[in-house]
Amino acid sequence: DVKVTQSSRYLVKRTGEKVFLECVQDMDHENMFWYRQDPGLGLRLIYFSYDVKMKEKGDIPEGYSVSREKKERFSLILESASTNQTSMYLCASNNRGQGVDPFFGQGTRLTVV
């Protein structure tokens, strides 16, 4: 079974904290993605990476950074968490090109208080 695993299902953090969300895939995929999902707004792409140490901004990168030191691991970092970053965060991965469908992790529900 293919797997994308996110380190936490639920997190509660305080405003101003530095937050790390971890994602690991075991499919040797080249691409990895971080999305956030909010009611009424759907899924929005924060950052993606197409190779180790490579990253590109998505639609809503402000307030976030990412790290990809190894092919299988992609981390999302909230430098100074704010309440408007309370959301469901979803990691996904796939290989480049047609016919390779993105697989998602189970999601991390982050609450910033």
Binding site: E30, N31, G42, L43, L45, F48, G58, G97, Q98, F104
Partner: protein
């Protein structure tokens, strides 16, 4: 302008009552249209990819079809366990690394 629009936003059906969900898209040069199912509090689960107009794919009570401007997800004789949010997505135009742009989803409820 939204590139992917799903309708209806919500749909409530009786068990066994067949219906269709719509996904319309405005991108040109489509490189695939994706359908996902998402249960509350979980990540999206991949269902289908369609690549060309006229293509159809089936899985149990679900059948996805594609035209040049829209896709339909037909649900035949649904059961309560088919209740979920159904998402469609297309590759982001000009986006790198094959990222997806999603519609806002259709929240489907099947009542026993």
């Amino acid at each position: 302008e939204d590139q992917v629009t799903q309708s209806p936003e919500a749909l409530r059906l009786q068990e066994g009552e067949s219906s269709s969900l719509n996904c319309s898209y405005t991108v040109s040069g489509l490189r695939g249209l994706f359908w996902y199912r998402q249960d509350p509090g979980k990540g999206p689960e991949f269902l289908f990819t369609l690549y060309s107009a006229g293509e159809e794919k089936e899985k149990e009570r679900l059948k996805a079809t594609l035209t040049k401007k829209e896709s339909f997800l037909h649900i035949t004789a649904p059961k309560p366990e088919d209740s979920a949010t159904y998402l469609c997505a297309v590759p982001t135009p000009g986006g790198g690394a094959d990222g997806l742009t999603f519609g806002k989803g259709t929240h489907l409820i099947i009542q026993p």
